[in-house]
């Protein structure tokens, strides 16, 4: 059995999200060191505020300003902060009900240790030095022994100069990808410039690249079958727009290629022939580049074109 391959895989993307009027006022307010809540239909002040009443689902727009001080309603001590969390030293996760608010907000509390944290303790916001209109404009909470803020929230228009209308939320997740037995064997064979598929024990079809199972029969494929290296273009398209980070002159041809002995076409670029002369049935062979696991492209073999009947099931 072939050794199972593994490789680091990073999935990283910035989510760009627009804000509703209440979220916009709240996040712009944080930028201006002002905490806003919204009053629900039953009079509860929600902080952080939402666009719709959590109970009635009606639109709510009645904004109020609450204090930057509050009370911890529950907490959890985090001895090992993880990447991207608000503090990089041990801290407490806290739900804090700000003075004047009826609900609690999740954030971090900077405290020396779990013994210094308890439910009911008084805290205040520590503002981030640089604020952009995001929940992270609150750097964290810190213990606070001073006077409580006004428990009666003040009405607020929610209007600020230059309001924030959207956020960009970056996200990065790290994986170690293992492709499993079938793909590991396929990739290992490619290293020796051989293309090895797998045959279904039931319908006898040969799948390239193998995915471990026959999608028609729903059974495991295991018998390895070397296919190609030559094959037939079953269909193709002409690419006229240059792809980002891809150093290939346009126009070029991208094709489905049925390697000899395979029952599933794979795809690859066709070169070594003018793009407007590529055709269905064209016989091609792989051209390998140094130091890569996959053919760089396929080029014509010079053989006569394949008869349509020989590949029509694979189009």
């Amino acid at each position: 059995m072939t050794d199972v391959l593994s490789a680091p895989l990073v999935v990283e993307f910035p989510f760009t999200r627009s804000l509703g009027p209440v979220q916009s006022a709240f996040l712009t307010g944080l930028r201006e060191r002002t905490v806003l809540g919204v009053r629900t239909e039953d009079g509860t002040v929600l902080v952080p505020p939402v666009e719709y009443d959590p109970v009635t689902a009606n639109e709510i727009r009645d904004l109020v300003e609450v204090a930057p001080t509050g009370t911890v309603t529950t907490w959890a001590w985090n001895p090992s902060p993880r990447r991207d969390q608000p503090l990089d030293t041990p801290f407490a996760w806290v739900l804090v009900r700000l003075d004047g608010a009826g609900t609690a907000l999740l954030h971090a509390l900077d405290a020396p240790g779990p013994d210094a944290v308890h439910t009911g303790m008084r805290v205040r916001i520590r503002w981030a030095a640089t604020r952009t209109g995001a929940i992270t404009d609150i750097a964290c909470f810190e213990p606070y022994e001073g006077e409580p803020g006004n428990s009666e929230p003040a009405p607020h228009t929610g209007e600020f100069a230059d309001p924030v209308t959207g956020i960009v939320a970056p996200a990065r997740l790290d994986y170690v990808h293992t492709p499993g037995r079938a793909q590991s064997a396929y990739l290992a064979a490619l290293e020796g410039h051989r293309t090895v598929g797998e045959r279904c024990p039931a319908c006898r079809k040969v799948y390239v690249p193998p995915r471990g199972a026959c999608p028609t029969c729903g059974v495991a494929t295991a018998e390895q079958v070397e296919v190609g290296p030559r094959g037939t273009v079953t269909t193709f398209c002409i690419v006229n727009i240059k792809a980002k980070n891809l150093d290939i002159e346009v126009p070029y041809v991208y094709a489905h290629i049925a390697l000899d002995g395979a029952d599933l076409a794979l795809h690859g670029r066709i070169a070594g022939i003018p793009y407007d002369q590529v055709r269905m049935g064209l016989r091609v062979e792989p051209v390998w580049a140094e130091g890569t696991r996959h053919p760089d492209h396929y080029r014509p073999t010079g053989e006569p074109d394949a008869d349509y009947d020989t590949y029509k099931e694979l189009v």
Binding site: L9, T74, T136, L173, D174, A182, R211, T216, G218
Partner: protein
């Protein structure tokens, strides 16, 4: 109304890593086992529905690859939920109730080993106020646990007992990942210790549903779904009372759970503290056998662990170890969304 039953259940052995297995490799033996138990072939199934999440293993459209294991050609009637398989079962149940199918194959799988599941799960949170802080799944469960301790509902010793009871029960479960005498360990996020948290691992599960006489023909003692419902709470954690689960209670009420006592409950409580919440919300007394399988504290393949609760409860009815069982599945942080089903064996119904 049609009578619909779970007639077969299968699951994989749940393991910390399954590097040699792709998703379809993990799933296929389970599909073959559950089909084999009924003698049905894939093309004889009326509807197929699956539950999984691409973020777990970081593979886009992994569920389409997993479908290779079903044998979906010629095209079958099929659907997928980006949720625990318990919700796929709910969709399949609805499909059968409408009369559009008489049988359904429901499966789910989760491969958490390639990623860091505590971080991955932050991506399901509110993107404006929560996700930018990356509060991981253990941290959120710990906030709920502390709220329970403050309310006098539990303490660390009681939580340790819950862990021990589940993992002792799991000794008899050959599929479980973490069984027997497991140390409480250090605080992972205070007040939760490593022992209060579920194992991280890979696994898969499948069930077959069938209606009326088809169910009777396929299974000696079908596990009839007497009621099933799911409910959700507000996404703002600070809006909810974390010591209670009104959504679980409401789902149970709609599923008919309170009409007669159950003898068994399979609760999807990945953290010990969540069992405290659910017992209270569902009114489960000491006479109810809770998690004879060991529950999610013994094996927690994410996206499959809820479906496994339904499967485990059904399997006990199949073999006559239960007459009326409650099965529960959860989704989201701190038991935000809850599904409850009531299953019965035939003699209890008569």
């Amino acid at each position: 109304m049609r009578d619909v039953a779970i007639v077969a259940f299968a699951q994989s052995a749940h393991r910390r890593r399954t590097d040699e297995l792709s998703e379809v490799d993990l799933l296929m033996p389970v599909l073959h086992e559950v089909l084999g138990a009924t003698g049905l072939k894939a093309n004889e199934i009326g509807f197929t529905c699956s539950g999984s999440a691409d973020y777990l293993a970081g593979r886009a459209f992994s569920f389409t690859m997993a479908l290779d294991g079903v044998g979906a050609h010629p095209p079958i009637s099929e659907s997928h939920v980006e949720m625990d398989g318990a919700w796929a079962l709910y969709e399949a149940w609805v499909k059968i109730m409408t009369g559009e199918a008489d049988t359904a194959l429901v499966y789910s799988y989760g491969k958490s080993s390639p990623g860091r599941v505590r971080d991955v799960l932050t991506r399901q949170l509110d993107p404006y106020y929560l996700a930018p802080l990356w509060p991981d799944s253990v941290a959120l469960a710990a906030l709920q646990a502390q709220a329970l301790i403050d309310a006098g509902d539990t303490d660390e010793a009681a939580l340790a007992e819950i862990a021990a009871r589940n993992r002792t029960a799991a000794v008899d479960n050959p599929y479980a990942q973490l069984t027997g005498d497991v140390p409480s360990g250090d605080h992972l996020v205070h007040p939760l210790r490593t022992g209060d948290c579920p194992p991280i691992g890979d696994g898969a599960a499948a069930v077959i549903l069938a209606a009326g006489d088809t169910a009777r023909a396929l299974c000696e003692r079908p596990a009839w779904i007497r009621g099933i419902d799911h409910r959700i709470e507000a996404h703002g954690l600070g809006v909810r009372d974390l010591t209670d689960s009104p959504s679980a209670r409401l789902a149970a009420q709609h599923a008919g759970a309170f009409e007669r006592p159950v003898d068994t409950a399979e609760l999807h409580a990945p953290f010990t503290s969540q069992e405290v919440v659910l017992r209270k919300a569902l009114g489960l007394g000491d006479d109810v056998r809770v998690n004879p399988s060991g529950g999610a504290l013994a094996a927690n393949p994410i996206m499959a662990a809820g479906l496994i609760r339904l499967g485990e409860a059904a399997a006990r009815i199949h073999r006559g170890a239960s007459d009326r069982a409650l099965a529960h599945a959860t989704s989201g942080p701190c038991l935000q969304q809850n599904l409850v089903a009531v299953l019965e064996g035939e003699s209890a119904h008569a």
